[in-house]
Symmetry: C2
């Protein structure tokens, strides 16, 4: 390699995320490496259990955490009230896919379906339960509340996902009963259909997830298609604002998500009136 190309390569590496370290390191460092991110998981699970416990026993008419097509909570029935439940996303909600994140960082490659499929099958013993998750599910089960898993992992790998959850101390999870996978119920990756199905069987008192779609499809999606990000923030804060920390519980995931598809630039994130520049001498 000639000298200019070598300098060029080093400049490219050093220009990224500090000194040659793979570019996703800051989100990975915070999410998987900081005490603070683990503390947020623990606090969120503590809040979820307290919130569910305060609303037991469920009864006919208890508002569930699942919204109907009109955007209002589906009420529990005399029958479903006998089966209180909480519905959980899996990836970066209950478990950290540490092994897959390591693969992405090491290969400096973005997410791809083929390697992710391999991880679903091979990583059953390497997924790491997030702080507070195991204790929360244990506490819920002791209260007679059933954890139900609603994930976009693939149905073809159902047995591997069941095994992964068991290995992480979060099981049992039984596909079609307490585990719902991509395409179940309505053939889509949106979770509203599966939630409606679950709410027909259980009185769902809480939802937990790391992305908007774990709560309702209506934050990301509007009548005209995918909503602009500013609109998603607005709707989450206003139309659905009363749910956060009441019956909807969010785990922090700056590693990936619908918010990064496509990636925002700073002018989409920072409104004109919020912008500031430093005009002094350095």
């Amino acid at each position: 390699m000639n000298r200019l190309a070598a300098v060029c390569l080093m400049a490219a590496l050093h220009g990224c995320a500090g000194g040659g370290v793979p570019r996703t390191t800051q989100p990975l460092a915070w999410t998987l490496g900081s005490a603070e991110a683990g503390a947020i998981a623990a606090q969120t699970y503590r809040a979820l259990v307290r919130s569910v416990e305060a609303r037991l026993p469920a009864a006919a008419g208890t508002p569930s955490a699942v919204l109907g097509s009109d955007g209002t909570p589906l009420p529990c029935t005399a029958e479903t009230a006998q089966r209180p439940a909480a519905v959980f996303d899996v990836d970066e909600t209950l478990i950290w896919n540490v092994g897959y994140a390591y693969h992405e960082a090491r290969s400096n490659a973005p997410f791809d379906e083929t390697s992710w499929d391999a991880w679903e099958r091979e990583g059953a013993e390497k997924a790491v339960a997030m702080p507070g998750a195991k204790a929360a599910l244990g506490a819920l089960r002791a209260l007679g509340v059933t954890p139900v898993f609603n994930t976009n992992r693939s149905a073809g790998n159902a047995k591997h996902t069941e095994a992964m959850l068991a290995h992480a101390g979060l099981g049992p999870a039984v596909h079609g009963e307490t585990l719902f996978l991509k395409g179940d119920v309505d053939g889509t990756s949106g979770k509203d259909g599966r939630r409606a199905e679950i709410a027909g069987r259980f009185c769902v008192l809480a939802l937990a997830g790391d992305q908007n779609g774990d709560f309702t499809d209506a934050i990301d999606n509007g009548p005209a298609g995918k909503r602009p990000m500013a609109e998603r923030r607005e709707i989450a804060a206003t139309r659905f604002g009363a749910h956060w920390g009441a019956d909807w519980f969010v785990l922090p995931n700056p590693l990936y998500g619908g918010w990064n598809d496509p990636p925002m630039n700073r002018d989409e994130v920072v409104a004109p009136e919020q912008r500031w520049t430093y005009k002094g001498n350095h």
Copy 2:
């Protein structure tokens, strides 16, 4: 610019955080741009208010959220119990420094004290209250609970910080009474000394922050100096695990913090037994 240099420059830009966007964009996009991050703030503030409300009225012997030098909660006294309070960090806890983050992204420069000092003085009307923060402080005040601000903003800019908090709808904040700044009480940037002082005046029922030092100096610091990151995670989860979501409330900040000083590489974050590589054909 010759062709090789131009290709080189484009390669450098494209190698960073996707297509020419400044390298901090992914943490900035999630923190300031995603609905999910705002929802976490809202849920955390809801949980904080509920938790404080459930422990009122304070009384002599009520355990405070502030730890004594032995690591156990300082008890409230008959006198301090008449002044219940909650103590809040400010930056990326109650407010997002959107303008400064924009400056950093635009200049592709790291944090520096000079431009930050200018922001403290010039940005009083551009700081953005985080979702749920204003409602939480209002709810606390209505319950007779005083918000006290404990921040490492500079004492020289006290009047600007008071004005910023007022403009964001979070005030009042009075330096020396309800606002404590870097160096107050014991001349340090560590917050334990200021917390002890505040706990001598108020019955502190909750702490809120985005970094370990907003709760106790003992997570980041041990007898031998700064703890390794793995030790910080361990201590936060075990020794202090019962506090998260009970009387300590963490806001997510993957933009900056002690966890990134120095930046971790993936081998520090991912233990050997957690690593996985994809061995298939792409």
